[in-house]
């Protein structure tokens, strides 16, 4: 490249960078208003004693966090948030993988089956919860009436009221909603496994499980990591499923951190303490995000530095 052409190219790039920066301004403004400011403001709020029923607000330093340390309700909700998220993701992953393996074969009605199995993911949580509560109802719910008609049980099962049952019920309900995401992403991952690997393994006499553990799972391992962490983050953050199903009850037995935070803000009017509770989960989420980045972009995040120009990877 001769010198003038090089200069022109460099100046063109500079001009383009300036234009590019200008084009980012509108999105940045929206993000500042809707994401960055509220998060910082929440952080600030957690250092004050803001209360909906109190006129003045003062800076109280770490008092809210000190209170958090001794709040058994909060620690209970932290514990349940992790059990809940762990089981939801684990159940969704195992079932999703099984379904994806089946849907990856040349079977009839593949498209229709996939569409039916996708449905719970796209319907509004409000409606999903109504439907789940309706079939789990102790008197008129389909599950209880059927089991009673078949003579398997003689007393109705109180899915949504009994202490021992409420947590498994909520976990299964959320796994039900999360499953399609796992199934579809894993299906996409399975389709990228080269078939030659399976063919040569078959020739060597490998059975189904041998192929699963020696070929399929290793090949989709990065994907597995990314979609389980993503799903874990979503489940930790999820509010609607639990709030609409149980409202955190009976007596706080199904409080997860977001639900407890919402309850504290709007039913106990304690805005600053609610912000403290919500902030506490940020640390965990940031750690998970960092882990996710490491897998997605390599150890030093080198995958990130390359930008996108002309990478040409297939969609």
């Amino acid at each position: 490249m001769n010198k003038t052409a090089y200069k022109r190219r460099v100046s063109l790039q500079k001009k383009n960078t300036r234009l590019a920066t200008c084009l980012l301004v509108p999105a940045t403004l929206v993000l500042l208003a809707v994401s960055i400011y509220p998060v910082l403001s929440s952080l600030w709020m957690s250092f004050t004693n803001e209360h909906l029923l109190r006129k003045e607000t003062n800076f109280v330093g770490l008092a809210n966090y000190a209170r958090l340390l001794h709040d058994s309700e909060f620690w209970g909700s932290v514990g349940f948030t992790f059990t809940y998220s762990f089981f939801v993701v684990a159940i969704a992953y195992v079932c999703g993988l099984a379904l994806a393996l089946m849907l990856n074969r040349k079977i009839r009605m593949r498209g229709a089956l996939r569409a039916i199995l996708l449905l719970p993911w796209v319907i509004p949580p409000v409606i999903a919860v109504t439907n789940l509560k309706w079939i789990l109802h102790d008197q008129i719910g389909l599950i209880n009436t059927t089991l009673r008609a078949w003579g398997i049980i003689d007393k109705p099962i109180l899915f949504l009221a009994q202490y021992g049952l409420i947590r498994p019920t909520v976990i299964l309900a959320s796994a039900w909603k999360q499953l399609p995401f796992m199934m579809v992403t894993l299906l996409a991952g399975l389709q990228s496994v080269p078939t030659e690997l399976y063919e040569s393994a078959s020739i060597d006499g490998a059975g189904f499980f041998r192929k699963l553990f020696s070929i399929t799972l290793p090949v989709i391992r990065p994907l597995t990591f990314i979609n389980t962490t993503l799903s874990f983050v979503w489940t930790i953050n999820s509010f609607e499923m639990i709030w609409l199903m149980t409202g955190g009850g009976p007596s706080g037995h199904t409080f997860t951190v977001p639900v407890l935070s919402y309850y504290t803000a709007f039913f106990r009017n304690d805005m600053s303490y609610a912000a403290t509770i919500a902030t506490s989960i940020l640390v965990v989420l940031l750690l998970l995000t960092l882990l996710n980045f490491r897998v997605q972009f390599g150890k030093g995040f080198e995958g990130l530095g390359l930008g996108g120009r002309g990478k040409g990877e297939a969609a």
């Binding site: 383009n16 590019a20 509220p38 089956l113 439907n131 990314i226 919402y262 969609a315």
Partner: protein, 278 residues
Amino acid sequence: MIGSKRERRDNAFICIFLVIFAFLYSLPTLTMVFSAMKGEAGILSDLSFFPKKIDLSAFMEVLRSDYFLRSIRNSLSVALWVCLFCVSLSVLTGYVLSRNTGARFTYYYILLLVLQMFPLTLRLFPMFKVFKAFGLLNTHACLVITYTGINLPFSALMMKGFFDTIPYEIEESAMIDGCSQLQSLVRIVLPLSLAGIATVTIFTFLNVWNEYMFANVFVNDRDLVMFTVALQQYVTQNESLWAHLMSASTLGILPSLIFLIFAQKYIVHGLTSGAVKG
């Protein structure tokens, strides 16, 4: 091929198993539709799975109810505005991030990835206060702003993924012929990424249509509520119109159903691009 007979037999078994599983998996949704068809008279007495007598009066009443229809209209209009803003902003952002290298764009990319992960409840209280201060509570504007901001990171990242698949050389040759950068975006890149725009639009639409928390906290005015909030009027402490609720819910999942039937590949693409790419 060796073992193809066995494979065919296995596939038949798997197909039968999947049909049964899909039926059980959709039971909550199917029960909703069939319960809605039992009508208010039969819903609490007829406990069979299929309605013994089909009574569509609840559907009719829901379709005649002003409150419900208005809430559907509210949800539609908010969702369409959000789609408009979110798609145009994410096209710009995605394009810039896909076509530029350098630290500042990398940091922006990381910022978007991180923002996706932040809990929504953390943003709820400050935004509630801000909208209250500006007198925007109980308007659609506050919902449009909120939803645009919430959906933007994911949509922009998805658009970036799409633009990455369009080779820069096409644009370069257009620019040699005298196209400016913006012209090349509008005339060359956009027509090539219609599939991506469709995916982002459908995802944004469904996210807004399905959202409940912000809709419930920010807008309570009877004339302005979103349909997810309006559903709750049917079952309150005073009255329980279960068949109405089921009918309204059945109508409420129609957009999702339509997209699943006619645009399944875009939904699948949106789901996978969230995890497989980033």
